[in-house]
């Protein structure tokens, strides 16, 4: 039960932050779909099904946070490249500020709990 709650909370966090992770991966330059998806899925615990990233990319495109263009690849079919727009960069910067504030606040609370429970009857195994 508690485990289920944790999983749900983590999955909601993941869902909320994933799009900014996509934007962050594009910060230093364009990438094509497969490359982007693989980079995300290689981050531990971020993506469970690679295929679900494509719908997210479509939404980011519709919201004009990224643009896409097709480029011939040396071998095989043309690839769709994703690139950050100015709006995407601004969204990423905003998020980065908010995320640090959020992360620090949660970290502080978690630390406080550990401390108040701590020392005397802290179970370590």
């Amino acid at each position: 039960m508690v485990l289920g709650e944790t999983r749900k909370a983590v999955s909601q966090l993941r869902r909320g932050t994933l799009e900014f992770c996509v934007l962050a991966l594009l910060r230093d330059g364009e990438r094509y779909g497969f490359d982007l998806v693989r980079s995300l899925s290689e981050v531990d615990g971020l993506v469970t099904s690679e295929g679900t990233i494509y719908p997210l990319l479509t939404r980011l495109r519709k919201e004009q946070l990224v643009t896409t263009y097709w480029r011939e690849s040396g071998a095989g079919p043309p690839r769709r490249y994703y690139q950050l727009t100015d709006a995407g960069r601004a969204a990423l910067d905003d998020f980065a500020v908010e995320w640090i504030r959020f992360r620090d606040a949660v970290d502080r609370l978690l630390d406080v709990n550990v401390d108040s429970e701590g020392d005397g009857d802290r179970h370590e195994d």
């Binding site: 779909g33 099904s49 690679e50 679900t52 494509y54 719908p55 939404r59 071998a75 095989g76 079919p77």
Partner: protein, 199 residues
């Protein structure tokens, strides 16, 4: 070039990949067709890229790639979820009361004869205010009833007979009452035809 082309062909004819894409196709039937085609092509390209990266297209490699992609149903659900936030809550918020509103309008129009003429008028205003019908349907619906009844009035007058105690006002009330019923009938049929899914 030829290696990749060969890979795509081998991949497309591979039973496992075909089945996977079939499942994705079936699971994504609620998507707009253009979006659905795009999703399928993205996933197919991904499989192709992944097999190239893995450097093989044997069943084990394919299964591994599909495993990482996740169940087609999850991908379809994600696609529906991503396209929904813009439209679904709005549709849900608007469509349901809109339908209820439309029904109220129809009932008022149909039983408007209880309060002669005024009842019909209120019904007509409600129908006009509802967005469950197109303008064309509204005009047709509100005009059809009165037109039918105006056409029938001479016959009605004859049927009642000159000796009957019906005055012009009574006939008008009767005619307008039936007009409301006809209008309501037509509009409810239109509502059923165009909004079956909304039920």
């Amino acid at each position: 070039m030829s290696i990749r082309k060969g890979m795509v062909t081998a991949m497309k004819t591979n039973q496992i990949v075909t089945e996977y894409l079939h499942r994705l196709h079936d699971a994504s039937s609620a998507l707009p067709s253009q979006r659905r085609t795009e999703l399928l092509s993205e996933i197919l390209t991904h499989i192709d890229d992944a097999l190239c990266a893995a450097g093989g297209n044997d069943d084990v490699t394919i299964l591994n790639v599909l495993e990482r992609l996740g169940p087609p149903e999850d991908i379809a659900a994600a696609a529906l979820g991503e396209s929904a936030p813009m439209s679904a809550p709005v549709a849900a918020a608007v469509a349901v009361p809109r339908r209820g509103f439309a029904r109220v309008a129809l009932v008022v129009l149909a039983v408007g004869f209880v309060v002669p003429i005024i009842g019909w008028m209120i019904g007509a205003v409600l129908v006009a205010a509802s967005d469950a019908w197109s303008i064309r349907e509204k005009v047709l619906g509100l005009v059809i009833g009165p037109l039918v009844m105006i056409a029938l009035t001479p016959m009605l007058t004859l049927a009642v007979g000159p000796g009957a105690s019906f005055g012009t006002l009574e006939i008008l009330v009767l005619v307008w009452g039936f007009a409301g019923l006809f209008s309501a009938l037509y509009l409810s049929l239109r509502l059923r035809q165009t909004h079956v899914l909304a039920l």
